[in-house]
């Protein structure tokens, strides 16, 4: 089935295979999902490496993402300019990192970036409040939210600077084996 495809050159497909966690078949499947999002925009021939970006609104309406409260952050983290509009490379990258085969460290790195709402390389108290609010759909009282954030910082902040660095986050993830199974999107 893969031999007859005309979307990518052989070298391109090999490169994708080597740089992502997908097999040939899965790459084609992801490509067709990307193409389905914007059939007029995405050409069926990527041998010439066209520069096509699917806007965030279409990405956010994918069934895998549309009910995820963090979909905007996910799209921002994986897009090229941080605005949520994704090229095919970004799209493949996103689903490769969120797939089953990605190692824990890689997932932890991207999860850290997703939860870092103000992009300052630390998860500070404000980021935590945003996360907790999105997780609970705003139904916890402000006092409860701040109490939860305080406890999270107590538990995870190793160097006691009032915010979580990437190392703190990774240390915490090491203690949570569920992370690998929950930070996973099937496509």
């Amino acid at each position: 089935m893969g031999n007859k495809q005309t979307v990518f050159t052989h070298e391109q497909l090999e490169a994708y295979q080597d740089c992502t966690f997908f097999t040939r078949k899965e790459i084609m499947r992801v490509f067709y999902r990307y193409q389905d999002l914007a059939p007029q925009l995405v050409p069926l021939d990527y041998t010439t490496c066209p520069d096509v970006k699917v806007p965030y609104e279409l990405i956010g309406s994918m069934p895998e993402l549309k009910d995820n409260p963090f979909r905007q952050r996910i799209a921002q983290v994986f897009s090229e300019d941080g605005d949520g509009h994704m090229t095919l490379d970004n799209f493949l990258d996103m689903f490769s990192v969120m797939s089953e085969m990605a190692p824990r460290d890689l997932k932890a790195y991207y999860a850290f970036k997703i939860y870092d709402f103000n992009n300052d390389d630390y998860i500070c108290a404000w980021d935590l409040e945003q996360t907790v609010t999105k997780l609970t759909r705003g139904e916890l009282s402000a006092e409860e939210v701040s109490l939860v954030c305080e406890k999270v910082l107590d538990e995870a902040d190793g160097d006691h600077d009032g915010r979580l660095s990437l190392e703190d986050f990774q240390n915490m993830i090491l203690r949570a084996p569920d992370f690998l199974s929950t930070f996973h999107i099937r496509i």
């Binding site: 090229e80 490769s96 660095s165």
Partner: protein, 805 residues
């Protein structure tokens, strides 16, 4: 992108230190000099502290941040320095990532955990001890770093390079460009510098082996992935119900794999040869009625399905040397096939392989899910790891949000409760209720076991209406009903007892259910091997036991269907129409998984007596998958209790290995070593125990000649010799004990490291605050100087400590 500044902070020593070189051994002198410094600093700090705290209080009202000030109040110069801190640049700058991975590749290539200090020149995470407070004066451009990384990547093997590339947190376009640049023409292998000769040879060999295994593993994995059906079904289930319910279906798939492996071995080595050389049937084959599917008797009796059908002779014996009274069937080019030996060794080897696979997957899962200190940090884990990204439906997503909210509220309540401990009276009452419920559940289990015992004795004693095959179904039905009903009773009782932690509730429920099933299975095993063997002397008792197990499996399946029908479908209809509740019944994961484990135990118990039983189990598992999936999607909702999917998978695998597989192995060993096989049927009919077949063969080998004499020697001195077994067990125990000590030591090291990180953090905050205060003072002085003197001021002198005094 943050560019690291070349900044030199000149902090001259206090006048007392100049000319002096205190060695660490002159402790009093060192302390004195520092003491003066500290005194001076603390005076200034007191002055600054008041000023800055006042300023801080204007900005934030929280009392927590007395040490750490928010960045908005820091000067731009401090901010610039902070932005180029090594820990900041890791996340933001690609150059830092590239350098970090360059270092990792170097370490990997040189295969040493700590490269020499001299090689750190190219590091982009400058160590302060090398640069004497200079922050990376050799600021390398990103392209240079990239070219360094490319060079390192080129010297790795292809699979390792790909592995490294895939794990890098860079964008796909950059990875592709790195890959392009690092491709070397084929046939070149960059030798490693340094120690050559033997070391590099065996290092290369080891690498080659590791890579070969890795690629083999990858190939197997992709083949398995291609074979795995139900990708879409699993995605739908995961999307609607989350990882917890999905773990049940994944466990089902694992069991299918185990059974397929078992069946493959049995078909290849036992059933295949027997089908190719069918023995003479004892009498006319009985007519097939429909009841065979349920009872397993009737026209199934004298087929490859049961033990009794297998011959006890050597198959395909060449003519001229008839052994064991076998028939002389002249076949050209055929190998003689010793059936008893094949039967025994195939069952033994398949159990051994299953054991190894189970223990390996259990140890692997255990290693993944249990970490030192993993019980703390529950709030952080709930916030960051509990959102299941697989969930794709709006309703399921909202349910998940509700669950997380409930969980967080419970955690907060728990924490507050811990701070207000319960009274002694309340705790006593709690303990009493707990003890009572446990007693009742254990009593239920014991009662069920007694009931099974009494009923099985009754079945033996009653004249049993030999013609009625349907009477054979009564015991399995009774056992099945007990298995179904008693857990419900225990769940009702468990509603009475108070539990602080919902996870503990689940574990306790699993424990009770397990005890019940073990009690019942234990009674049944005694009934079969203890009583039935005696009662059925002169007949083929192994066939009977095999048929019993078949009946139990089938009845288990039928009752599971009925339970799904009534427990889920009818309950949903009742709760929607009559009780007008919007909530659907929950899918009880623990109970369903234990039922799967129970079915698998029955299969393992019966493999010796009915080699085709794994095939029956495979068909049953396939049907169970579709039935449960349909019922789940139509009738159930996701569990509202939090479910630690990863811990639970480990627990399920452990339960599969320890009580289930171990029990089946003990049963098998007892049957092989202690019980006399029946003398009218089966491959062991002339022997005292089944194990004798092995001994007979070894004696045969001894007589065969000196060429294979090592095998009897191995058998006599290693297998039959108990001393060797003791020695091996003692060694294993010693290894386990050593590992426990190592883990204990590591735990201590982790505590020390945590303390160290905390101290370093405080140091960092202190230094940043000092830096900030220095810059503040500098700015203030500049401003005052510009304000008071109109003429061109001299360039501001760098701040020295003398001005503070």
């Amino acid at each position: 992108m943050a560019q690291p500044l070349a900044f030199i902070l000149d902090v001259p020593e206090t006048p007392g230190d100049q000319g002096q070189d205190p060695s660490p051994y002159d402790e009093s002198e060192v302390h004195d000099s520092f003491q003066q410094l500290i005194q001076e600093q603390s005076q200034c700090a007191a002055q600054e502290g008041l000023e800055l705290q006042q300023r801080e209080r204007e900005v934030t009202g929280s009392s927590q941040q007395t040490l750490w000030r928010p960045e908005g109040t820091q000067s731009t110069a401090t901010l610039r320095i902070l932005a180029s801190m090594p820990s900041r640049t890791i996340g933001r700058s690609r150059g830092a990532i590239i350098s970090q991975y360059y270092n990792r590749t170097v370490q990997l290539r040189r295969r040493s955990s700590r490269p020499l200090l001299g090689n750190f020149v190219r590091s982009a995470r400058p160590s302060l001890r090398l640069y004497d407070l200079e922050l990376d004066p050799m600021a390398r451009e990103e392209e240079e770093k990239q070219s360094l990384l490319v060079k390192e990547l080129q010297s790795l093997a292809v699979a390792q390079r790909d592995h490294m590339l895939r794990g890098m947190p860079l964008s796909l376009a950059e990875k592709r460009s790195l890959r392009e640049k690092s491709r070397t023409p084929r046939g070149k292998w960059r030798g490693q510098p340094g120690s050559g000769g033997v070391c590099s040879c065996c290092g290369r060999l080891r690498y080659a082996c590791v890579l070969a295994l890795h690629s083999l593993g990858l190939a197997l994995l992709s083949a398995l992935q291609a074979l795995t059906p139900w990708r879409y079904a699993l995605k739908r289930i995961g999307g609607q119900f989350g990882s917890s319910v999905l773990s049940y279906f994944l466990f089902l798939k694992t069991l299918l794999a185990f059974n397929a492996l078992l069946l493959l071995l049995l078909v290849a080595f036992i059933m295949g040869p027997q089908v190719a050389f069918p023995p003479a049937l004892p009498g006319p084959a009985p007519v097939c009625t429909g009841l065979e599917l349920l009872t397993g008797a009737g026209c199934f009796t004298h087929t490859v399905m049961y033990y009794g059908h297998y011959s006890n002779a050597t198959l395909n014996q060449p003519c001229g040397s008839p052994l064991d009274g076998s028939q002389c069937t002249p076949r050209v080019g055929g190998l003689p096939y010793n059936m008893p030996l094949a039967y025994l060794s195939t069952v033994g080897v398949s159990f051994f392989i299953t054991c190894i696979t189970l223990v390996y997957s259990m140890a692997h899962a255990f290693g993944e899910s249990y970490r030192v200190g993993s019980t703390s940090g529950i709030h952080a884990i709930t916030v960051f790891c509990s959102w299941d990204y697989k969930v794709t439906q709006k309703r399921a997503s909202r349910l998940q949000q509700d669950n997380i909210r409930t969980r967080l509220k419970e955690l907060l309540a728990e924490w507050q409760l811990r701070h207000s401990p319960r009274s002694v009276c309340g705790r006593l009452r709690q303990a009493a209720v707990l003890g009572l419920v446990w007693l009742l559940c254990l009593g239920t289990a014991l009662g069920c076991a007694m009931a099974v015992h009494v009923f099985s004795e009754f079945m033996i004693q009653s004249p049993e209406a030999a013609g009625q095959e349907a009477a054979l179904l009564v015991l399995p039905l009774v056992v099945g009903l007990l298995n179904l009903g008693a857990p419900y009773l225990c769940r009702v009782l468990a509603a009475l007892e108070p539990h602080d932690s919902p996870v503990l509730e689940v574990y306790v429920a699993i424990c009770r259910n397990l005890i019940l099933k073990l009690a019942i299975l234990g009674t049944l095993c005694y009934h079969w091997l203890g009583r039935r063997v005696g009662v059925l002397q002169g007949q083929c008792w192994e066939d009977f036991v095999g048929q019993e197990l078949y009946r139990f499996l089938v009845m288990d399946f039928v009752l599971m269907l009925l339970d799904t029908l009534f427990g889920e479908l009818v309950w949903r209809i009742i709760s929607e129409k009559k009780l007008k509740r919007r909530r659907k019944p929950e899918f009880d994961i623990a109970r369903n998984v234990l039922e799967l484990i129970y079915g698998q135990t029955l299969t393992w118990l019966g493999v010796l007596f009915s080699p085709l039983l794994p095939a029956v189990q495979i068909i049953k598992l396939l049907l169970v998958f579709y039935v449960k999936k349909t019922s789940l999607l139509a009738n159930c909702q996701a569990p509202c209790r939090p479910w630690l999917a990863s811990h639970m998978s480990t627990v399920f695998l452990t339960l599969l290995c320890f009580p289930a597989f171990l029990g089946a192995a003990v049963f098998l060993c007892y049957a092989v070593w202690q019980v006399k096989p029946s003398s009218t049927c089966g491959p062991f009919r002339t022997l005292d125990t089944m194990y004798e077949a092995g001994r007979v063969w070894v004696r045969h080998l001894e007589a065969a000649g000196p060429r294979v004499s090592w095998l009897p020697w191995v058998h006599r001195y290693l297998v039959e010799n108990t001393f060797f077994v003791f020695l091996v067990s003692a060694l294993l125990l010693a290894v386990i004990y050593l590992n426990i000590q190592v883990v204990r030591g590591q735990r201590k090291v982790i505590c020390l490291l945590k303390e160290q990180i905390s101290n370093e953090g405080e140091d960092k905050i202190f230094l940043i605050n000092k830096l900030h205060s220095i810059y503040e003072r500098k700015e203030r002085e500049e401003r005052s100087r510009v304000g008071t003197t109109e003429e061109a001021a001299a360039p501001p002198a760098l701040l020295t400590d003398e001005q503070d005094a």
